[in-house]
């Protein structure tokens, strides 16, 4: 995975909050802007490097589907 963490954040958090109708005071937004900018700088390059066919882990399971399939197959073979 390409992990080039170039800071490309140009989001205006106050405008985003207002446009979304969130009642977050400006003082609170000032306090969190730096954290959000830093997260954005770390996260955005990861997203850009994501292969397009990667599906989300919507129902998360600790064992990967392929491994689980293999295991079930093995269990079936053992049972025979």
């Amino acid at each position: 995975m390409n992990n080039d963490r170039t800071n490309t954040c140009n989001k205006d958090w106050k405008k985003i909050a207002r446009a979304s109708g969130m009642a977050i005071p400006d003082s609170a937004l000032d306090r969190i802007a730096q954290s959000l900018d830093a997260l954005e700088a770390d996260f955005r390059p990861l997203v850009r490097a994501l292969p397009p066919d990667t599906e989300p882990a919507i129902a998360f399971h600790a064992v990967l589907p392929a491994a689980a399939h293999q295991e079930a197959h093995q269990e079936a073979e053992d049972a025979e």
């Binding site: 995975m1 969130m22 969190i32 997260l39 990667t54 599906e55 989300p56 600790a62």
Partner: protein, 458 residues
């Protein structure tokens, strides 16, 4: 006394559950004013339960090693008829009409529930300095935090109030207090222990597990709480087994991964030395140390933060019109989560899947990994930044830096004490294994730690 030692004494009739419970209540009464570890003490219910346990044991109706043992659970496990606050003002009067699965199964195993432990507000932080119910204090130094969010559980077990307290772990919340308080903290594989009835913080990251005074105790508790629960959609059907390791287990031939990148890059020197010493101990017992490069843990941490921010804010958004009911640190995180677009959450879950595949390759090369649990020992109450090496770092980000990535991967991990820093504060070693390898990591842990963790000078 460890849980299993107390269980053995009960079986030999050297002590009764009533006596164990009375002693625990007495210790809570003496030490809780200075530690604030217990949020709610259930003295009468516990005495009644202990009496019943003694009667059952006398009739030969033993229900296993937890039968008659006083225990506590973090105040986010729903308990029928007993207030469950989640450390939050929002739920300060909430009295559930049902038990969480963990509590139900612990009770079925005969455990005597003596109380609910305090925690970081909504389990969303690592200091356990709760703005509504007071700061929880570390028994090793009461000017310092116990870690969190299961800070009350860590402090209660370290102080010897109970032999076991349940915790929850969304980004390190069992392992961090275990490290800071010098006890054992086990985060099982995602799906191994039911989340049903535990107040959620982030559905896909929350794990439930015990904090104990010995590794074998953690295994004994896992024997009771692990298993399929249809009320938790992500509960695993995979069979469990016996998680209690032998007293002197062999680790000969096991391959222990020594991460060459990330985990040792920015540590307190005392932590670095103590964890490296653990590798030598393992090697002296026949394990093979395998240096290796691990996947990009910083990137996994980033993904975990996006998932946590989004899930927690989605969950608590209906309450956010009452901003005065939240502490400042939690409110700041909830505000951040609301500002992330849905696409970020979906992409974080896509990245998570890719990273899970990338990390799965590790287990072909090693049986488990050793890392420090935290890069630092317990900070002082009120400290918001710590100096690690030559850098200042936010306390929350520092404390979670080495543990957070394990949650999105769903891997089992245990933190065990592995020495103390120059001030005498405990240091934690994290042992991480492949999915559902709890028995293996507990076996390795048992080979490295004494039968019972050290007791702080109280």
């Amino acid at each position: 006394m460890t849980l299993l030692e107390a269980a053995a004494a009960l079986r030999r009739r050297e002590i009764s559950s009533a006596e164990l419970t009375a002693a625990a209540l007495q210790r809570i009464e003496r030490l809780n004013p200075s530690t604030n570890a217990m949020q709610t003490v259930m003295a009468e219910a516990a005495r009644e339960c202990a009496k019943q346990a003694d009667q059952e044991l006398a009739r030969g109706e033993g229900r296993g090693p937890l039968h008659g043992i006083p225990i506590a659970v973090k105040d986010l496990f729903r308990t029928q008829g007993v207030r469950t606050t989640g450390g939050s003002k929002l739920f300060e009067d909430y009295v559930p009409d049902h038990d969480s699965t963990v509590v139900e199964w612990l009770r079925a195993g005969g455990a005597v529930l003596i109380g609910k432990t305090g925690m970081h507000e909504l389990a969303y932080g690592i200091t356990s300095s709760n703005p509504h119910f007071g700061a929880i204090r570390n028994p090793w130094d009461r000017d310092r935090i116990p870690g969190g969010s299961s800070g009350g559980s860590g402090a209660a077990v370290a102080a010897g109030m109970v032999a076991m307290a349940m915790g929850s772990d969304t980004g390190g919340s069992i392992r961090i207090p275990a490290a800071f308080c010098g006890v054992v903290g086990l985060k099982p594989t995602y799906g191994r222990v039911s989340r049903y009835g535990a107040m959620p913080l982030a559905f896909t990251l929350d794990h439930m597990g015990p904090l104990t005074r010995s590794v074998r105790d953690a295994g004994a508790v896992l024997n009771v709480i692990a298993g399929y629960d249809p009320r938790d959609e992500t509960s695993s059907r995979r069979p469990g087994g016996n998680y209690v390791p032998d007293i002197e287990p062999s680790i000969r031939g096991l391959r222990i991964g020594l991460p060459e990148n990330f985990y040792f890059e920015r540590l307190d020197p005392d932590v670095d030395a103590a964890v490296r010493a653990a590798f030598h101990t393992a090697e002296s017992r026949g394990a093979e140390i395998v240096p290796l490069r691990v996947p990009d843990i910083a990137a996994i941490n980033t993904v975990a933060r996006v998932i946590l921010l989004a899930e927690a804010s989605a969950l608590l958004e209906p309450h956010l019109e009452h901003r005065d009911l939240f502490g400042g640190d939690v409110l700041a995180l909830l505000d951040q989560g609301r500002l992330l677009p849905a696409t970020d959450y979906i992409n974080a879950q896509r990245l998570r899947r890719a990273m899970q595949y990338e990390c799965a390759g590790l287990w072909a090369r090693v049986d488990c990994l050793f890392t420090p649990t935290t890069p630092i020992t317990a900070p002082r109450i009120g400290e918001t930044t710590v100096t690690v090496g030559s850098e200042n770092e936010d306390v929350r980000l520092a404390a979670t830096r080495l543990v957070r990535a394990i949650n999105p991967l769903g891997l089992p991990a245990v933190s065990i004490p592995c020495g103390a820093d120059r001030r005498g504060l405990p240091i934690g070693l994290q042992i991480v294994g492949p999915p559902f390898a709890e028995a293996l990591i507990l076996r390795v842990a048992q080979a490295l730690v004494p039968a019972e963790v050290p007791v702080p000078p109280l």
